[in-house]
């Protein structure tokens, strides 16, 4: 029983990590119709940013996140202006391969600038643990989990309760109609993209004390997060969060039951099954999967 609960906790904490990435990705996906293959590279940039600030100034990594996240946001704006805006309305090929190109570029820019060295941020609380009911809960994991949940909730409130959020939703539903209603679609795109990638950067910063930092670290996340986004339903913030937690749980449970080698396989198979049976995901609108993507 204790063991089952521990697996549950591990899975949820892991899912929390995915959630912050997934929320951003699902927004970009839902609003811009862009499959952002470079999403995890913004996380990598956040990790490196926090590592460098911590390494050079000795600033606490969690404070460094506050410095780094705006920088990633700025960089997101640049990327949006230079690349993403130009892919809007372009054929599927352009959208997919422009972001794949960006991903290759960023990974290797990091490799060229900072070498392939594997770096780590060590702090006094890296190994700190809470032990409620005899369970083991890592403090840094809990912090990133909490921030992810709060950020997702905040984002959801903005989307559903504010005028700006409603404008975003209108654009997501029908770009032409939204433009006719006087919504500045390009601005919506700009902010959706840059806030989403800034969230990825923040997430990178938050997990820097937990994981090692190296140029190709994003690869281990991106495909999993895509699975989450599709399971959660295109553009659905609550869907992405729930799917992230679910994938975290599946990974932890399947890993324990069948071994680590097969954990990844299990959720890909679930993913394929869902795509076949219910391609709109758990929370997606019906018909999204056959939306042509422009």
């Amino acid at each position: 029983m204790q063991l089952a609960l521990q697996i549950l906790v591990n899975g949820l904490l892991l899912g929390g990590l995915y959630a912050l990435l997934a929320v951003g990705l699902t927004l970009i996906f839902g609003v811009l119709r862009v499959v952002n293959f470079a999403h995890a590279e913004f996380m990598m940039l956040g990790m490196f940013g926090v590592y460098w600030v911590w390494h050079l100034t000795g600033l606490d990594p969690y404070l460094a996140v506050l410095v780094v996240t705006p920088l990633v946001l700025l960089f997101g704006i640049v990327c949006d202006r230079l690349i993403i805006q130009r892919t809007i309305g372009a054929p599927e090929v352009t959208v997919v391969f422009a972001t794949l190109g960006l991903s290759i570029f960023l990974q290797n820019a990091a490799l060229t600038l900072w070498t392939a060295d594997i770096r780590s941020v060590t702090t006094a609380y890296s190994g700190m643990v809470l032990t409620p009911f005899g369970l083991r809960v890592s403090v840094p994991m809990l912090i990133s989990f909490t921030v992810a949940m709060l950020a997702a909730a905040g984002l959801w409130l903005v989307l559903t309760r504010t005028l700006y959020g409603k404008a975003i939703q209108a654009v997501a539903q029908n770009r032409e109609a939204a433009a006719l209603m006087g919504i500045d679609v390009r601005r919506i795109y700009l902010w959706t993209f840059s806030v989403a990638v800034a969230a990825a950067g923040a997430m990178g910063g938050l997990i820097a004390p937990l994981f090692t930092v190296y140029p190709r670290v994003g690869i281990s996340y991106i495909v999993t997060v895509f699975v989450i986004v599709v399971l959660g339903g295109l553009g659905s913030v609550p869907g992405a969060v729930l799917a992230a937690l679910l994938i975290g749980l599946i990974e932890a449970a399947a890993g324990f039951l069948f071994g680590a080698a097969w954990a990844e396989l299990s959720y890909f198979l679930i993913f394929l099954a869902v795509l076949i049976a219910r391609p709109q995901g758990f929370f997606g609108r019906r018909g999204a999967e056959v939306f042509a993507g422009r």
């Binding site: 352009t94 991903s103 490799l111 895509f226 599709v230």
Partner: protein, 337 residues
């Protein structure tokens, strides 16, 4: 649009026959293993991109999972030879049949998916096959890889020299291009064009959507597997990271896109541009900066020239034509003055 395939056939006969003759003669003139090796690599990727184009370009389903078929072809041929002594010539056929069946299944499964959903479904399929290749160690030896014996002989498609692989690669490319041309001239080709332009309208006109898509996916997969078997006998060592990995899928699609998807010769042309360029960049700049440039070029190409090199060439041609016309006009007007 309608007579384009017929045009292409004429062009391919006019340009293709002398070109093919020249290509066949290459090893007699180029004895340098580096250039010949590079040429073989270009041929292999040209064949892969052309095969991808049948489902990715003609049928319009942007697949990021083709490494799975490549791997199936490579592993089938290798394992049949290592375990049962079956010559890779037959192994290649077996791999093609197996991959074709797999391609048909995937084609049927992803039938209704469009846009990003189709991309992600193929991506997930590719990863599932990769995980299987890594972890099904009794069959594949996992990451330790499989080594084909050195000097297995011509009977087993294992040559000591490089030149025979040039001819095999040439044959492979000819096969994929031939199949592409045949499809474009067949009813299947017309249906695929109709489907790609407007699926609902095509369906209303009575196009057998399911049959067309499944057929395109299966043919594309089978041809990709042939290239996989070719790779295995050429490099004589296969492991999951060089056959079934995601990066291979990306590279296949990328080459087709750089060349110009949906056209017959574009993807092959893409290989001629991308592969040597990649090698030159890597040799002159080193890995990191080279891949940086590679990524940057990919972005620029898809943004500025989504129709690829073929598209650029066509634009250049028409510009030259209109330029010539304009020059002619100015000359005439000057004459009047």
């Amino acid at each position: 649009m309608g007579n384009e395939p017929a045009n292409e056939l004429r062009v391919s006969l006019l340009v293709g026959l002398p070109l093919a003759a020249a290509l066949v003669a290459v090893p007699t003139f180029v004895s340098d293993v580096f250039w010949l090796g590079l040429g073989i690599t270009v041929l292999m990727w040209a064949a892969l991109a052309t095969a991808w184009n049948i489902s990715g370009g003609l049928a319009g389903g942007l697949s990021l999972g083709h490494a799975a078929y490549f791997g199936v072809g490579a592993y089938t041929a290798t394992l049949l030879f290592l375990r049962f002594g079956i010559s890779p010539y037959f192994g290649l056929l077996a791999g093609a049949v197996l991959a074709g069946a797999l391609g048909a299944a995937i084609g049927a499964i992803t039938l209704r998916l469009r846009g990003p959903f189709f991309v992600l479904a193929t991506l997930a399929f590719g990863i599932v096959v990769h995980i299987a290749a890594v972890n099904w160690r009794d069959l594949t030896r996992g990451a330790a890889g499989l080594l084909l014996p050195f000097g297995g002989g011509a009977r087993n498609m294992l040559f000591a020299g490089v030149a025979p692989y040039w001819y095999l690669g040439l044959g492979l490319l000819a096969l994929t291009l031939g199949v592409t041309l045949a499809i474009r001239r067949s009813p299947l080709g017309y249906y695929l064009v109709a489907l790609r332009e407007d699926e609902d309208a095509a369906r209303a006109l009575g196009v057998k959507v399911v049959r067309c898509k499944v057929a395109a996916s299966a043919i594309s997969a089978a041809l990709t597997a042939c290239a996989g078997a070719f790779y295995a006998t050429y490099i004589q060592y296969i492991d999951p990271s060089s056959t079934t990995q995601f990066e291979i899928s990306v590279q296949i699609a990328l080459i087709a896109i750089v060349g110009g998807i949906g056209t017959t010769f574009g993807p092959a042309l893409g290989a001629l541009v991308v592969v040597p360029l990649g090698e030159i960049l890597r040799a002159s700049l080193g890995g990191g900066p080279a891949l940086m440039l590679y990524g940057l070029m990919l972005i620029v190409i898809v943004l500025a020239a989504p129709n690829g090199v073929i598209g650029l060439l066509q634009r250049l041609l028409s510009m030259m034509r209109s330029g010539a016309r304009r020059r002619a006009t100015t000359r005439r007007s000057r004459g009047h003055a």
